[in-house]
């Protein structure tokens, strides 16, 4: 099966290449695989995800996602690629002047779905993440854990090809965490979605086979 993500000897750095976070890392991920990424705080997990959605270009090596070389991709191709990604941010990145429901359907709005479709999807998704009664509230009226679940619902709303999740359960209790893990497992199992999850705690109850990467001292290593 083809690789959805292929990283070959990539170096990721900030400050014009002066501050190297990841150096000479190589890995590939196939379609439908479920990957956990762990590592110490500040090791570069969020940085790696940033590179995967094209917001940080590798300074060396090649990083191919969905067939596009992110080191050289143009704006419009990158835009197109991003509409197939479901990104969950560590800091949620919700639009505070939009209602919860509107936040959730942002990917559908970008794809040009009708308002009717958006509304039905919003209801369905919010029910999944147990936030139905908060649909018309604004993000800042929600708790941190609730905002995080809005972010999860948004990432799943258009059935993405790849989910890139940064600590999606970081603020959640065990019950809510399990709700999230279930959603991701379902996506992976039923829709063959590729899932990459950064987490500090791999769930103990997990029914799917998965791979586990550790980021440490600038390297990306797989645990077997």
């Amino acid at each position: 099966m083809s690789n959805v993500i292929n990283a070959s000897h990539i170096t990721l750095a900030y400050d014009n290449g002066e501050k190297e976070i990841i150096k000479d890392a190589s890995f590939s991920i196939k379609k439908g695989e479920f990957v956990f990424i762990t590592g110490p705080s500040g090791s570069g997990k969020s940085t790696l995800l940033k590179a995967l959605y094209g917001a940080l270009k590798p300074t060396e090596g090649s990083l191919v996602v969905g067939g596009l070389d992110l080191a050289s991709v143009g704006q419009s191709k990158l835009q197109e690629l991003r509409t197939h990604l479901g990104i969950i941010f560590q800091d949620y990145k919700l639009v505070n002047e939009w209602t919860v429901a509107k936040n959730v359907v942002l990917p559908l709005m970008i794809a040009g779905y009708s308002v009717d479709v958006q509304n039905t999807q919003a209801q369905r998704l919010l029910k999944h993440v147990k936030l139905s009664e908060h649909a018309d509230k604004y993000p800042l009226e929600l708790s941190g854990g609730e905002q995080q679940r809005v972010g999860v619902a948004r990432a799943l709303s258009k059935n993405p090809v790849v989910i890139l999740a940064d600590e999606p359960t970081g603020n959640l209790d065990d019950y809510s965490s399990n709700v999230i893990w279930d959603l991701m497992e379902n996506a992976c199992q039923q829709l063959d979605t590729t899932v990459l999850v950064v987490t500090h705690k791999i769930p103990t109850i997990f029914s799917l086979p998965y791979r586990h990467f550790i980021i440490e001292s600038k390297g990306v290593y797989e645990v077997h």
Binding site: A55, Q79, L81, K93, V95, P107, I110
Partner: protein
């Protein structure tokens, strides 16, 4: 409250620019007719030894647009009152010819002196009389007013542009988060900046409307009742319907440039 303030901070400087543009248009139009009036009211008196055609005057200086012969008979009849017919004929024969010479444009004093010198160089021309002093002072005052007004308009425009940019930065800050999130999810530029465009274009229309309203008021209410001659004579020039188009397109242009500057400077997900 914050919403209104946000818009006023954008609409007011935009209006200042539009008022400046409209002032400029009106000033240009009204002073054109004023200039024309001055020009038509101004002429030189030229005394010649023999009759001269307009083309001859024109050949001497191209700014001369007309030459009107002053009837010598009327001059003679004035000075020769009570003198016999034959001697009045003699007076007429010895009398030079007089012309009122008109110019084609409003000239500076040095321009006038040049014409005078050109004319006096002709051996048939005995004397050229200009009304230099009053002409020159009104011309200087006129150019001074014209200059200061233009300077003021430009100054106001620059200050207003700065205010608009300042306000744009506030908008940029307010919209940055949303535009970045939308960008990460693959929204095209137009969708990302759609709200900004809508708001800014609405403001452009409002500013145009208010500016037009002010000038329409000046034209139909104030100018008509002001008792100021120049205003009443030039009432038609004060505001034309076509000005609305000029103002609106200026406003839209400014707004589009401003929005694009915001949109493009908030690119990039990382800070």
């Amino acid at each position: 409250m914050k919403f209104i303030k946000n818009h006023l901070m954008f609409i007011l400087p935009l209006m200042a620019i539009l008022l400046g543009i409209e002032f400029y248009l009106v000033f240009d139009r009204t002073t054109n007719s004023y200039e024309k009036g001055l020009k038509e009211g101004y002429s030189m008196l030229v005394v010649t030894n023999k009759p001269m055609e307009l083309s001859v005057f024109k050949a001497l200086n191209r700014h001369i647009s007309n030459a009107q012969k002053i009837k010598r008979e009327s001059i003679v009849s004035e000075i020769a009152k009570g003198v016999s017919k034959s001697s009045s004929k003699e007076i007429l024969a010895s009398l030079p010819y007089f012309y009122n010479v008109g110019l084609d444009s409003y000239l500076s004093t040095s321009g006038l002196n040049k014409i005078k010198a050109d004319l006096e160089a002709d051996k048939n021309i005995k004397k050229v009389e200009t009304f230099g002093s009053s002409y020159s002072s009104s011309y200087r005052l006129f150019s001074f007013i014209k200059f200061t007004l233009k300077l003021f308009i430009v100054f106001m425009g620059v200050v207003s542009l700065f205010l608009i940019i300042k306000q744009m930065e506030i908008w940029k800050y307010a919209h940055k988060e949303r535009m970045q999130v939308m960008e990460i999810f693959g929204a095209p530029l137009m969708l990302r900046s759609g709200v900004l465009f809508k708001v800014a274009i609405a403001d452009a229309f409002i500013a145009t409307l208010l500016t037009s309203a002010i000038f329409l008021y000046v034209k139909f209410q104030w100018a008509a009742n002001s008792g100021i001659d120049v205003m009443m004579e030039n009432q038609e020039e004060l505001f034309r319907l076509s000005d609305i188009a000029i103002l609106l397109s200026s406003a839209l242009l400014i707004v589009v440039i401003a929005v694009y500057s915001v949109v493009f400077s908030s690119k990039g997900v990382e800070e």
